[in-house]
């Protein structure tokens, strides 16, 4: 089930802020559409939703969406969100970050927000590159890629968000791609049920910068790669999911779906769930815990006053 694009634009975007700054073929529009749909299907009032983003191409998303929105500083969105959520515990707070935003300059904030378990739904859009500034190396750029600041090749290992999420104790972690929009929408809806820090990594494509420098200049080619790579992180194939899905450097386009085994025979229900890697339904978020303390104290004061 998909909402019509015209309805999403009319009801959930700010027409005066459009068109977006995003390049044709960029996955960010798909992600924005999925988030809007998830909020729509969950039946939230727009007044009750906050969209908090950092800096970069992904950071622009909060401005396009017609919610209470903050386009914060680079990497700091989880900290802004922490303050807002604590002041407005009834609001549903989304945090939208890019890979450099979340894992490089904002790494400490992301780790601490997960450890603190602040009640937000967080989306990290991972396109393996710094897009807005022109294609520089990001913490998720695969080793041996070419970037604007690694004209020969990169030497560093790509960071794996899943491992960070595990280490910091995030109660929900899922991975999706812009090639699986129905699944992405479902994952966002599912993350929204969690009390605490629910994180979704969305693999997206920057064919214009990453792709052009690494022999996959077409959006379609990059997105086709995701179809292959994502299968490695389904629950059914979790044992194989030791490594994070990522856009590999040159040569990945030659991988054919048939060469990835184990996908055949998955039921459609399993497909819907694919991508959920950590899910702790019993989690109680920081805000909920803190506000129950405040309620206890209020009750104590009331009974003390009688």
């Amino acid at each position: 089930m998909n909402l019509q694009t015209s309805l999403i634009i009319r009801d959930y975007l700010r027409p005066a802020m459009l068109p977006t700054t995003w390049c044709p073929g960029c996955g960010l529009g798909i992600i924005m559409s999925s988030i809007a749909q998830a909020i729509h299907y969950q039946g939230l009032r727009k007044d009750d939703v906050a969209m908090i983003s950092g800096i970069g191409c992904t950071g622009r998303m909060s401005g396009y969406m017609d919610f209470n929105s903050i386009h914060t500083t680079h990497g700091r969105a989880p900290a802004f969100a922490t303050g807002l959520k604590m002041a407005r515990p009834d609001m549903h707070v989304f945090v939208i970050m890019g890979d450099g935003d979340a894992m490089s300059i904002g790494g400490n904030h992301l780790l601490s927000a997960m450890r603190r378990n602040i009640d937000v739904t967080a989306i990290v859009v991972n396109n393996s590159i710094y897009g807005l500034t022109g294609g520089q190396t990001s913490p998720t750029t695969p080793r041996d890629s070419k970037t604007a600041t690694a004209r020969h090749r990169t030497f560093e290992r790509a960071m794996e968000l899943e491992v960070l999420a595990r280490a910091a104790g995030a109660p929900f972690f899922a991975r999706a791609t812009v090639n699986h929009t129905a699944s992405l929408t479902k994952l966002v809806e599912r993350a929204m049920q969690i009390s605490g820090f629910a994180l979704i990594e969305v693999i997206s494509n920057c064919h214009v910068l990453y792709g052009r420098m690494n022999d996959t200049p077409e959006a379609a080619t990059m997105i086709a790669q995701m179809d292959v790579q994502t299968w490695r992180s389904t629950p059914a194939l979790q044992k194989r999911a030791e490594r994070a899905v990522r856009m590999t450097a040159a040569g990945a386009a030659s991988v054919e779906p048939e060469t990835v085994d184990g996908f055949e025979g998955m039921s459609s229900d399993q497909r819907k769930d694919r991508g959920v890697i950590i899910e702790n339904k019993g989690s109680v978020g920081f805000s909920r815990r803190y506000h129950s303390l405040l309620e206890e104290l209020r009750n104590d004061r009331r009974s003390g006053g009688e």
Binding site: M17, D66, G83, L84
Partner: protein, 380 residues
């Protein structure tokens, strides 16, 4: 009737914040401000408020902006190294006009410096620490009573002018214990954030009003709007239109410059007939005040202008003083940060000199008096 209590400066700041209606605090431990956090972690939940210990000062500053957008009066406290980390998001709050209060209990710097020793070295950082031109308000408490009163004022100014306000305290006043008057409930005029009354469709959260600000709607109450660190139009939408940018600057500067009568706080003592005037602020003003008493006992016509508001700088008052007295002496626990500003304003109308150090010791009344006597004696 106020009640009288003995407390130290950090406690007075914490109690002042609660009295002013602060209900959200985010911070990171740092000497010599840590007691503020410790006290508020206990006190805030008692008044239905929230305390969060963040991962660092960058995040603390971010969190208080987020909470303020939720409609809650918010504050953080730190010292020099943490204040350096806060500059990025301090600029965000200035540019997007989000009320909040930042308390900096100064210690000797640069870097880790002398963590437990008082200094006043962050005067210029309070003014220009974040990048780009910007208006700012900074208040400097010169007693434990000031710690309480100026913290209350800081919240008032931050809400009234939609700006971060810095309480530039120092380890002299923060660790000092004094008997202060604490207003009882209902005695204190607490400034509440005005709310928009028009329809959400017509709401301009960042209206380029001259000399004033638009009411700031809390998130979640029907006025959905966008907040960004980018230069924006009156709706909050990013723009690169230079005509709009120029109107924005006019608004940003005039909201402070047109309200100096309200913002500039200072106290005067014996200035009416003073030949020599001291200009002092923060903990150093206590020594200056005592030096005036000692000088008067000896028949020296010494006066004191004690600045409570240091930014914006009280230019008109200092200029008038420079024309009225033969000499201005500025004791500071730095190497002349505010003195340079006084010299600029005095523009040669009088002699301006400093008493300066940042070695971890304090400037005593005796040291000030000695300089005054040397300058006013027969050989001067």
């Amino acid at each position: 009737m106020p009640r009288f209590e003995v407390m130290h400066g950090n406690q007075a700041i914490a109690e002042g914040a609660i009295a002013a209606g602060c209900r959200f605090y985010a911070g990171y431990p740092i000497t010599p401000s840590t007691e503020i956090a410790e006290i508020l972690s206990d006190r805030l939940p008692e008044v239905d408020g929230v305390f969060v210990q963040m991962e660092d000062e960058i995040a603390s500053m971010a969190a208080i902006i987020g909470a303020s957008l939720g409609g809650t009066k918010s504050a953080t406290a730190t010292s020099g190294p943490g204040f350096s980390l806060m500059q990025e998001n301090l600029g965000f709050a200035i540019g997007s006009e989000i009320p909040c209060v930042v308390i900096n209990v100064q210690r000797v710097g640069p870097s880790t410096g002398l963590p437990t020793k008082a200094a006043q070295g962050d005067v210029m950082q309070a003014r220009w620490g974040t990048h780009g031109d910007h208006p700012i308000i900074a208040l400097s408490p010169g007693s434990v009573q000031d710690c309480f009163d100026l913290t209350v004022k800081a919240f008032e100014f931050s809400e009234k002018y939609r700006t971060p306000v810095i309480v530039l305290a120092d380890a002299m006043v923060s660790a000092l214990e004094e008997r202060i008057a604490v207003p009882c409930a209902g005695e204190l005029a607490v400034y509440e954030r005005p709310r928009p009354t028009g329809s959400p469709q017509d709401y301009l959260p960042f209206a380029f009003t001259r000399g004033g600000v638009a009411p700031l709607a809390p998130f979640g109450e029907g006025y959905r709007y966008h907040v960004t660190g980018l230069l924006h139009d009156e709706r909050g939408y990013p723009t690169e239109d230079s005509a709009l940018a120029s109107r924005w600057w006019d608004h940003m500067h005039s909201k402070i410059d047109d309200n100096l009568d309200d913002i500039l706080l200072y106290e005067e003592r014996h200035l009416e007939d003073a030949e020599v005037a001291l200009i002092a602020y923060g903990g150093t003003a206590m020594a200056a005040d005592r030096a005036v008493s000692l000088a008067r006992e000896q028949g020296i016509r010494l006066g004191l202008l004690k600045l409570q508001t240091i930014w914006p700088f009280p230019e008109a008052r200092v200029r008038a003083l420079a024309r009225a007295c033969r000499r201005i002496i500025v004791p500071e626990l730095n190497f002349g940060q505010l003195r340079a500003e006084i010299e600029r304003v005095a523009a040669g109308a009088t002699l301006v000199e400093g008493i300066n150090k940042a070695d971890g010791t304090q400037i005593t009344p005796g040291e000030i008096l000695e300089v005054v006597r040397r300058k006013t004696g027969p050989e001067a």
